[in-house]
């Protein structure tokens, strides 16, 4: 209807420019857009970025490889473990080290927990953006449980900083698996509960169905990935197409919707939470005993116990701390499926203990490019719904 209205000459009025953000609750951070509107209808929307630009890539060029891990988690703080995973996988590929089985499974657990974590908060704030105040309170309840799990084993609640080059920082804390099992057992029912709030809610459907349409060809050309691409009708998931961390051993489905609109993105993300829970349940069963760090002296830190008892381990540890790890010459691009889409890390190495160049392919940055395309001709109020359906994290957009 909005599109029809904007095309009728007798309804035309003077075009007005409205400044949205950077400090606006619906922009999820410091995103700013200049919106040209004709009455209630958006003619054009021009994003302005950079309010949260910290010079991440330049900083990385001046840090040793190990020091970069916590920085990566500060890019996408909603799915923090995905970031350090992408980064460590890139380095491991370049160093050519094999990760022990147990560490692989722990990484999958952390990655899937952070996916649920991110989708939960998205669902809460997205509901908030379209006027449904209730969901947020339910989402925060489960999000708190996940944060407690992170805290238990990694120390950090929002940014666990748990994944290391060659494995994970330390073994799972006692009681972690029991609490995780308890979480996975009731989480499916909780997702059903969320669905009763929005999925068939007529107000929610009216606000989201047919809004922010992004056809598949446009989505591909714009580089959109993750749940947004799957909501546009393409079942593309990097966990399936280019498996990492042993994802090929898990049995899960890739949800796909064909509506290409905000409502489809909602359905995809809700289903993804169920699938992540499925993966978590399998991971608990699969979790083997064994080391949590790869054994590659001079490349990977030796286990803490060995440092106290073995001379060589102490020397390796000392050298890694003082000199850092040296990667072979060359470059490498590694991608993972983050909660937002294709998260990629491109590293160019010249043999020094710090990256010569690090390029962070942030999915939210690329997905946000689709905003002007999706909002043209819609109502101004829908712009907020569309923006929130992209699931942006500004820290990742601006880096």
């Amino acid at each position: 209807m909005a599109r029809d209205l904007s095309q009728r000459a007798d309804n035309r009025s003077e075009i007005m420019e409205i400044n949205l953000g950077p400090h606006h609750p619906s922009t999820h951070g410091v995103f700013r857009a200049i919106v040209e509107i004709d009455g209630e209808i958006v003619i054009n929307c021009t994003p302005y970025l950079g309010y949260l630009h910290r010079g991440f890539e330049k900083t990385c060029e001046n840090k040793k490889y190990h020091q970069i891990i916590p920085l990566t988690e500060r890019c996408d703080y909603m799915g923090a473990s995905s970031n350090s995973l992408a980064y460590c996988l890139t380095l491991e590929k370049m160093l050519d080290v094999e990760i022990p089985e147990r560490a692989q499974v722990i990484r999958v657990i952390m990655a899937e927990l952070s996916r649920i974590f991110s989708h939960l908060f998205w669902l809460g704030t997205h509901g908030h953006d379209v006027g449904a105040m209730t969901p947020l309170f339910y989402m925060l309840r489960e999000r708190e449980e996940i944060m407690n799990l992170f805290e238990l084993t990694a120390g950090g609640r929002l940014m666990p900083n748990y994944i290391r080059i060659g494995g994970v920082a330390k073994d799972l804390e006692e009681g972690f698996i029991e609490r995780l099992r308890a979480f996975t057992e009731h989480f499916d029912n909780r997702v059903d509960e969320y669905e009763t709030l929005l999925t068939k809610n007529i107000i929610y459907i009216d606000r989201t169905k047919g809004i922010g349409v992004l056809p598949l060809e446009k989505a591909i050309s714009l580089g959109v990935s993750g749940p947004m691409m799957r909501a546009s009708g393409k079942a593309w998931d990097i966990r399936k197409s280019e498996p990492y961390c042993g994802y090929e051993r898990y049995d899960f489905d890739v949800p796909v919707e064909y509506g290409c609109d905000v409502y489809s993105r909602y359905l995809v993300r809700v289903e993804e939470m169920r699938q992540s829970n499925r993966i978590l349940k399998q991971a608990i069963k699969l979790l083997p005993e064994g080391p949590i760090l790869a054994a590659a002296p001079g490349k990977i830190f030796p286990p803490q116990q060995d440092i106290y008892t073995k001379m060589e381990s102490l020397i390796h540890h000392f050298m890694l701390v003082v000199e850092g790890v040296r990667l072979p010459h060359g470059d490498c691009y590694q991608t993972i499926e983050s909660p937002r889409g294709e998260l990629g890390c491109y590293i160019v190495s010249d043999g020094a203990p710090n990256p010569y160049r690090l390029k962070w392919r942030a999915p939210a940055f690329v997905n946000l490019q689709a905003l002007p395309e999706m909002t043209r001709g819609c109502f101004f109020a829908d712009l907020i719904a569309i923006l929130s359906s992209i699931d942006i994290v500004l820290a990742e957009v601006d880096r």
């Binding site: 950079g50 890539e57 446009k218 393409k234 593309w236 280019e242 691009y333 160049r357 392919r361 690329v366």
Partner: protein, 163 residues
């Protein structure tokens, strides 16, 4: 499709001496800068290749080597799930900034990546639909990701940075 077949196809199309291949776990192709648009269009439209998805465009400053800049295009094929990296080298001379054709007409997603690369390295992307700065303040005349730019900035060039 495997790397050898991609290599074969590209050499066939552009001639064996024009392109340099780096094979390994991930293949990359060094393309002469004037061929970049032809190359990208071919990669996107060839029915056997179908590189319809651009992951990113980025720059690498090889200072003090010459040519100084390397532009990297990482492409992906959604239907065939194969990846390829394109590289091209461009140089700047006194009064002539480094310059290359924009690939926005091939993949729309190049837009912001090229804007970011332009402001970070001082590279001009010709025929870019929106050549404004993206992340940096409008008044900056410096290019922070260049290797000769100091990590903390300078008081004259970047007065808005906290010291």
């Amino acid at each position: 499709m495997n790397q050898d077949r991609i290599k074969e196809k590209l050499s066939e199309k552009f001639g064996p001496d024009v392109l340099q291949f780096e094979t390994g776990a991930q293949m990359s192709v060094l393309v002469p800068p004037e061929k970049i648009i032809d190359m990208c269009l071919y990669l996107r439209d060839d029915p056997e290749l179908k590189f319809d998805f651009l992951s990113f465009v980025g720059g690498v400053d090889l200072y003090p080597a010459s040519p100084r800049f390397q532009i990297v295009y990482q492409v992906y094929s959604v239907p065939y799930t194969h990846r390829l990296r394109l590289k091209t080298r461009i140089d700047e001379t006194e009064g002539n900034p480094a310059c290359i054709e924009s690939v926005c007409s091939v993949w729309m997603s190049a837009n912001w990546h090229e804007r970011e690369t332009a402001e970070m390295f001082g590279i001009i992307f010709k025929d870019h639909p929106d050549p404004r700065k993206l992340l940096l303040p409008e008044n900056w005349q410096v290019y922070p990701l260049r290797k000769d730019f100091p990590l903390m900035g300078t008081e004259e060039d970047t007065p808005d940075l906290p010291s």
